[in-house]
């Protein structure tokens, strides 16, 4: 058998850069790895010495897509460090904006990054020719999600109103009611999204692994909860290091994570597997329509789980608005600095999986130390383990087919890789 060498530089359509390297010799896999840039190494350096009130605003800039997610994990870490308990209204407003960001991210991933593969086209641009109504639908959902985030967060793309212990800007009842109507109207687009996902040719592949997600007894957990795994382990967020166990591996500049097995998976599929029983009935129906059942061990179906979560987020956003309107919005002031520092971890489920922030704050209210573990970093070892199983199953296929499968696998994880430079490349013509 001919040797196969695949070196996909800069996997396209993932958030940032990633290189896939595969070497097969005499029918045996010699090398199989994913090179990826991970969490900015200067995370601690950029927070050290800053007032605690700034952490969420700075860290929300790490990722253009998970701004609310980073802000929320940051706020929860700070609040835990300072022993500040957010009010019921704050919890509801955070849930609502979180649903907006989840919807925003998932719709982009499913429609613009995954669907082109499934339709056999190189990107969303040619997809417009085949399925223009689907792309317009995606933009319509994205607009609703963006407007939801702006209404609660105070501004498009950056949630400046989110603060330690509360909000600095509040939506009024009319704005909330208008959003509610748009969410109700979006049910048709959700149904169409489920139908689209149903027609996509999902690759047939599976590999058992451990799935890790936050879990709560009273809801499908996105913010706070207990770290829970499908192998039966559970830990409080403050013990996150017992799950992540970050370690250096020889072939990668990024640290890998593992729990009891060689790897674990986080993200929509992990949440679905851990929290299936907490989904809204409409989301459970969507899962049934897609043939998705826990425990699903096909990583390609992470994108299908995202579709199920989109349905859930629309329904729960409607519920949360009803609660907010029912109780009435109060212009709550922010809690003062308690006068004493401390250490705390915060966690939430951002679109790509469980995210941890961990801060030490001094008695002067300034950050002394900070740590952050992003979902993609936790998934690296699992993606490689999938690749090692996937490649031998496709060895009889043409090299281009293997390359595409590998790229699709990496994209299925929706990796968010340090959100690298986005600036324009311009050629004057």
């Amino acid at each position: 058998m001919a040797a196969i060498n695949i070196d996909v530089h800069h996997v396209t359509r993932v958030e940032g850069h990633g290189n896939i390297v595969v070497n097969v010799k005499n029918g045996a896999l010699e090398e199989c790895r994913l090179d990826i840039v991970e969490t900015p190494r200067f995370f601690e350096a950029m927070l050290r010495g800053r007032p605690y009130t700034q952490s969420s605003h700075i860290t929300s800039r790490i990722c253009g897509i998970c701004a609310v997610g980073h802000a929320t994990a940051s706020l929860r870490a700070t609040e835990n460090a300072l022993d500040i308990t957010p009010s019921e209204q704050t919890v509801l407003l955070r849930k609502l904006i979180f649903h907006g960001e989840m919807l925003d991210s998932h719709v982009l991933h499913v429609y613009m990054l995954v669907a082109p593969d499934m339709f056999g086209v190189g990107s969303v641009i040619p997809l417009v020719k085949i399925a223009p109504e689907a792309v317009l639908r995606a933009l319509r959902i994205k607009k609703l999600a963006g407007d939801l985030c702006a209404t609660i967060g105070g501004r498009h793309t950056h949630p400046i109103a989110m603060a330690v212990g509360g909000f600095t800007h509040f939506p009024d009842a009319d704005e909330l009611k208008a959003l509610r109507q748009r969410l109700v109207d979006a049910r048709a687009d959700m149904d169409a999204t489920v139908q689209l996902a149903k027609t996509l040719p999902w690759p047939n592949f599976s590999r058992e692994t451990e799935y890790v997600a936050l879990r709560k007894e009273d809801e499908y957990a996105f913010i706070d909860g207990t770290i829970t795994t499908t192998d039966g382990a559970s830990y409080p967020v403050s013990d996150y290091r017992k799950v992540t166990n970050e370690h250096l591996v020889q072939h990668s500049s990024a640290k890998h994570c593992k729990h009891k097995r060689e790897s674990y998976m986080v993200g929509a599929l992990a949440r679905f597997n851990v929290n299936y029983d907490k989904l809204h009935p409409r989301a459970t129906a969507a899962a049934a329509e897609l043939g998705l059942k826990p425990i699903c061990t096909n990583p390609f179906l992470n994108s299908a789980a995202q579709v199920v979560e989109m349905v859930h987020c629309v329904e729960d956003a409607i519920n949360v608005i009803d609660q907010l309107v029912g109780r009435g919005i109060t212009l709550e002031p922010l809690p003062p600095f308690p006068g004493k520092g401390g250490e705390g971890a915060g966690s939430c489920e951002v679109p790509r999986g469980i995210l941890f922030h961990n801060y030490q704050i001094g008695d002067d209210g300034r950050v002394i130390g900070a740590n952050c573990i992003i979902p993609t970093g936790q998934n690296l070892a699992n993606i490689e383990a999938d690749m090692r199983k996937l490649v031998p199953e496709f060895l009889d296929q043409p090299q281009d087919k293997i390359r595409l499968m590998m790229e699709m696998l990496v994209r299925a994880y929706d990796p968010c890789i340090s959100c690298s430079v986005h600036f324009l490349n311009v050629k004057f013509v």
């Binding site: 800069h10 396209t12 359509r13 993932v14 958030e15 940032g16 900015p40 190494r41 200067f42 950029m46 700075i58 800039r61 790490i62 253009g64 897509i65 701004a67 925003d104 982009l108 613009m112 990054l113 082109p116 190189g122 990107s123 969303v124 641009i125 040619p126 417009v128 020719k129 223009p132 792309v135 317009l136 933009l139 994205k142 607009k143 963006g146 501004r155 498009h156 793309t157 950056h158 340090s418 959100c419 690298s420 430079v421 986005h422 600036f423 324009l424 490349n425 311009v426 050629k427 004057f428 013509v429």
Partner: protein, 159 residues
Amino acid sequence: MKPTLVLGLGNPLQRDDGVGIRVVAELERRTLPPHVEVMDGGTPGVGLINLMEGRARVVIVDAAEMGRQPGEVVRFRAEDVKLTGSSARFSLHRSGVADALALADALGVSLPEIVVYGVQPAHVEWGESLSAPVSAAIPGLVDAIIQEAQSLKEQSDGQ
């Protein structure tokens, strides 16, 4: 909604990539014509299409790899240049502007009149400080954008 939007784009945690955001922060301290709104757009990716919706004119300020000297500012219209990074390498963060415009074009979405102020970056790795030449370009850039916004108003008044 104000007809003219000045939109700063970029990530201030990636050194010179944040120049658009710094310019917006500076513009927010200045007195602007009443028809002009200034917005920190961050890195919106294809969300840029939604941010521009309903505007007559959009002035984008962003770091742009143009093969020029660091800090050099070039004003151009989107249709005057080839914005690379689209289609073959569609990503939500890389070249978000190019991808968004290509997608809008493919969909036949009508866009406002777009003027881009591109600033040639020197450093775009993680970090918060601007390079000296990019930092030095900001005052002139701010003045130019205020003049631009004013002239756009005069143009529309004359129509």
